[in-house]
């Protein structure tokens, strides 16, 4: 079947099978930031935006994004670089495999609630699993990123 959608602001028309998952489609289109993790909807590695909302691409049928806008980390390069610097500054990046999903969701958090408290950050990111870090460094990095975005802290 034919699927028309926008990927990182570029209109695309692709041929897919009825049961293609969005994760498989995006990786076949060279969006390798979208990681294949648990494939049970628990780890958040495959997070992408559909119409600006973070969703699990491993659990979204590709056919369901007909006419919609899909954004992966490749489409958020500037924000991702900005955020990534804060994560690196806190030593929160270890193997790095969870980072793309975490970045997507942290950016979604900022867009939805730029004044998030620590508890709200933890709750928002509960669906992003990391096997290396223990989350403390990531929490510090996200906090610094949000502060930077508020203009209270300048990154050097």
């Amino acid at each position: 079947m034919e699927l028309k959608f926008t990927l990182n602001e570029v209109p695309r028309v692709v041929e897919i099978s009825a049961d293609t998952l969005l994760l498989d489609l995006l990786r076949s289109m060279k969006c390798y930031s979208v990681k294949r993790g648990c494939e049970t909807g628990n780890c958040g590695l495959c997070t992408v935006f559909v119409d600006e909302r973070p969703v699990l691409s491993c659990s979204t049928l590709a056919a369901r994004v007909e006419g919609r806008s899909v954004v992966t980390l490749e489409g958020l390069r500037e924000e991702a670089e900005e955020y990534g610097a804060y994560i690196a500054d806190e030593g929160a990046e270890q193997c790095g495999f969870c980072n793309p999903g975490l970045m997507m969701n942290a950016i979604a958090l900022y867009r939805e609630n730029p004044e998030a408290t620590d508890d709200e950050i933890k709750e928002y990111l509960a669906g992003n699993l990391c096997r290396c870090s223990g989350y403390e460094g990531q929490l510090r990095g996200i906090r610094s990123y949000l502060e930077f975005k508020k203009g209270e802290v300048r990154h050097e």
Binding site: R53, V55, S59, N105, A108
Partner: protein
């Protein structure tokens, strides 16, 4: 993994209903549970274009479309104001925001999953479900029907209807680790003057009981709440699985019910104080 050849993006409930009469077709909710099954089906029916992703509020009720995502449910201002913290508490532990943006109310309710926080919440609130063919029925009737007869199984769930009869509600769950399936879910509510308690993840699907004891009629104290919790725990069968034993669940039903009921008492106290303040103010004017 779920395999299928046909994807039907239906344009009407009638079309969905007709397609769903075929045994090899299934209706898609959020697809989160369905995709975990090793199963090949003929086709999937997608209700995304039917406008069932809306929450409508009238003076009498909230009508929550079957395709409303759990995240939309959690964030709906009218529902948040009406149900208070219980709404958030019942949903916030369900994996993460990305998951709840995909999972739907209809998928959770229609599946009558044992682990469903959503079913537990709406059962205590005395909600109704609306099917395309079978019409409206109490959620408690649908939840306890076992197994589903062919007619209901092949019907299309349109909406969950929450009549505005809720006076107070409190929700608690136990999990071995954050975002995991619950070990136990428990919701207590005062609806139309009657205390109702639903318990899910027993690990069987949620069921409810109304207060038949009058234990709480003279007021809620720690003692009456504890006695009521013990009585409630005796009303439900529990089972054992990898997450917890039947005995543990039984004990936790009493604990969660007691805490929920104490919270209901606090809510009622706050409402009474607010009403009294308004009346005093009105009298002075």
């Amino acid at each position: 993994m779920l395999k299928f050849k046909q994807y039907y993006r239906v344009k009407s409930l009638e079309e969905a209903y007709e397609l769903n009469q075929k045994k090899s077709n299934v209706v898609l909710g959020g697809m989160l549970w369905l995709k975990l099954q090793r199963r090949t089906v003929g086709g999937v029916i997608d209700l995304s274009d039917l406008g069932l992703d809306q929450i409508m509020e009238t003076e009498e009720a909230f009508t929550i479309g079957a395709m409303v995502s759990l995240r939309d449910l959690e964030q709906h201002e009218g529902l948040r104001a009406y149900l208070g913290e219980a709404l958030h508490e019942s949903l916030r532990h369900i994996v993460g925001v990305q998951f709840r943006n995909v999972a739907t109310v209809g998928g959770s309710i229609f599946g009558r999953f044992g682990f469903s926080d959503v079913l537990t919440l709406f059962l205590a609130l005395d909600a109704k479900v609306k099917f395309y063919h079978a019409g409206e029925m109490p959620l408690s009737v649908y939840a306890s029907a076992a197994p589903l007869d062919k007619e209901l199984k092949n019907d299309i769930l349109e909406a969950v209807i929450l009549p505005k009869h809720v006076e107070a509600v409190a929700y608690r769950s136990v999990r071995n680790s954050e975002t995991d399936f619950p070990v136990l879910t428990c919701c207590a509510a005062k609806v139309n003057g009657v205390y109702r308690v639903s318990v899910g993840a027993r690990p069987m699907r949620a069921a409810y009981t109304a207060d038949l004891t009058d234990m709480l009629k003279d007021g809620i104290t720690p003692e009456t709440a504890a006695a009521f919790g013990k009585w409630v725990s005796e009303q439900f069968a529990t089972g054992s699985n990898v997450r917890a034993s039947a005995d543990y669940r039984k004990k936790m039903i009493a604990v969660l019910t007691k805490r929920n009921v104490m919270e209901l008492a606090e809510t009622e106290k706050a409402v009474h104080a607010q009403t009294a303040a308004v009346q005093t103010k009105g009298g002075q004017a």
